[in-house]
């Protein structure tokens, strides 16, 4: 997957988890939770979806790296580039 594909995948997962939110103006460098209503259980849904879809394990200590969209792409890129 390219970075762009990874970003779109993350956005698609988030859209599925918080379907009432408008994600079109989501800024990449600002924490996602500051821009849309996404609580800790929703965040765990993102982790679960990555696990189910791609077998990616994100240890709890790395959760902070997924706070922003840009951070998520950077973190996932080495783990998803071969997908």
């Amino acid at each position: 997957m390219t970075k762009e594909q990874i970003k779109n995948t993350i956005l698609e997962i988030i859209a599925q988890i918080i379907p009432d939110e408008d994600l079109s103006n989501l800024k990449g460098n600002i924490p996602i939770r500051e821009q849309v209503e996404l609580d800790s259980m929703d965040f765990l849904d993102i982790i679960m979806e990555l696990r189910k879809r791609y077998g990616i394990e994100v240890p709890e200590s790395d959760y902070v790296q997924l706070a922003t969209l840009d951070g998520s792409v950077a973190y996932l890129e080495p783990r998803m580039k071969k997908l």
Partner: protein, 416 residues
């Protein structure tokens, strides 16, 4: 009788919110019952294939966001819809109510089986690796979930919980709401019952293994209480929530009053896990009549529990005959014949379906009754067509459940 009959100790029904397989509000539900319209259809479920079930088609997004739906349960969604509709029907404005004085009391037959089955099914796809088990599981399966979702959705901060009472749950939610009003624990009770049972293959499979799951080439003829050819239960989902208030409060705000809950009783068979007990049902009906301070001759409509099982229908008929005599004055009907067995919602839905009788003086029938089982010899059973009668002052609603739980509610046409 209740200790006092002052307006502060009389409890009335001032709002009804419901979803049934044949109607998503009381007027539509009533129309279906008077028109003989069944809500039973075919359903394909995991592991079992095609079964017959009663499914509801209310607008889930009327009161919930998509995210709430995704996170919550079907029972929670049904409960929210019914509670919101009940408040609207009572012409109450939530914003003007003291939400700490509202209680949510919902009867359930079971809760958590649907969600647990779904999780087991999910992890099966991952060779039963439990790291795929959802973090949403626990808040979905806690027994208070359906009532709790109502409080989250409506911002109610008074007490909320469910009452696990098998198929008597709907009556018992109502009874409990009344009791909490009489204890002055709350000023308004959202009380009734809900069922999401059609989402669980285990409920269907369990009835099938008992030899008590209905089958019929025509789904709408499958639920046939008291008919010679009945062969079991049709599982349904649904919900019904009543707004209950003390009469003094209802009068103060000039509320529409559907009826006054004047009698009730709950008892246990203490005899068997699944088979009913005639003598205990007799005692329960008599206890409710006694609490209401009336005699069997005063009852105008008996809303039967009859599920369409051979044994259950016979026992209830015997119990009714013992209490009301071989030739009762009361007219007798059955709502499950239209909607199947809505489990925790059944008692509340079946009572609700009869409440309009106070005004229209019509008794909706028992449908699908082609050949009355001679072991269910009930005079005045209203068969297949509604019956117009002269007066409706009292409705008695039976609801019984597994482990031998009996419940009876008596509602009186409101008179000041």
């Amino acid at each position: 009788m209740f200790p006092s009959k002052s307006d502060g100790t009389r409890v009335v029904i001032t709002g009804v919110g419901l979803t049934a397989p044949n109607g998503n509000n009381l007027p539509d539900f009533r129309r279906s019952l008077l028109a003989g319209k069944s809500g039973i259809q075919k359903l394909n479920i995991r592991y079992m294939g095609e079964v017959l079930a009663g499914l509801c088609n209310f607008d889930q997004l009327k009161y919930q966001k998509k995210k709430e739906l995704r996170r919550g349960t079907r029972a929670g969604s049904i409960a929210i819809y019914c509670a919101q509709e009940a408040i609207a029907d009572a012409r109450l404005d939530l914003a003007c109510l003291d939400k700490s004085r509202i209680g949510v009391y919902l009867g359930i037959t079971e809760h958590g089986t649907v969600e647990t089955e779904n999780e087991v099914y999910t992890i099966k796809q991952f060779d039963y690796d439990v790291k795929y088990w959802s973090h949403h599981h626990n808040p979905r399966v806690v027994a208070n979930n359906p009532a709790g979702e109502v409080t989250l959705n409506m911002g109610i901060t008074g007490p909320h919980y469910t009452l696990g009472a098998a198929c008597a749950g709907g009556n018992i939610g109502l009874i409990h709401g009344l009791q909490m009003l009489l204890l002055n624990e709350v000023d308004l009770a959202l009380a009734g019952g809900v069922s999401e049972s059609t989402g669980s293959f285990g409920i269907f499979a369990g009835f099938k293994s008992e030899g008590a799951l209905a089958s019929h080439p025509d789904p709408q003829k499958a639920c046939r209480p008291f008919d010679r050819d009945r062969n079991g239960v049709v599982v349904s989902e649904g919900g019904c929530v009543f707004v209950l208030e003390r009469l003094s409060d209802a009068i103060k705000r000039v509320a529409k009053i559907y009826g006054e809950v004047v009698g009730y009783a709950i008892s246990s068979d203490a005899s068997d896990f699944i088979f009913p007990d005639r003598e205990r049902q007799v005692q329960c009906m008599r206890l409710a009549l006694n609490k209401a301070g009336i005699s069997p001759e005063d009852i105008d409509i008996i809303s039967t529990h009859g599920t369409g099982t051979v044994e259950g229908d016979i026992v209830e008929c015997q119990a009714i005959s013992e209490v009301f005599g071989a030739h009762p004055r009361a007219y007798i009907n059955n709502t499950k014949s239209f909607i199947g067995h809505a489990m925790g919602a059944a008692g509340a839905l079946e009572l609700a379906g009869n409440l309009p009788s106070f005004e229209d003086l019509l008794v909706h029938p028992t449908i699908n009754l082609d050949h009355l089982d001679p072991r269910c010899p009930l005079d005045n059973l209203v068969v297949n067509e509604p019956k117009k009668i002269d007066n409706v002052n009292y409705i008695l609603n039976n609801s019984f459940g597994m482990l031998g739980i009996n419940s009876v509610v008596i509602v009186k046409r409101f008179e000041e």
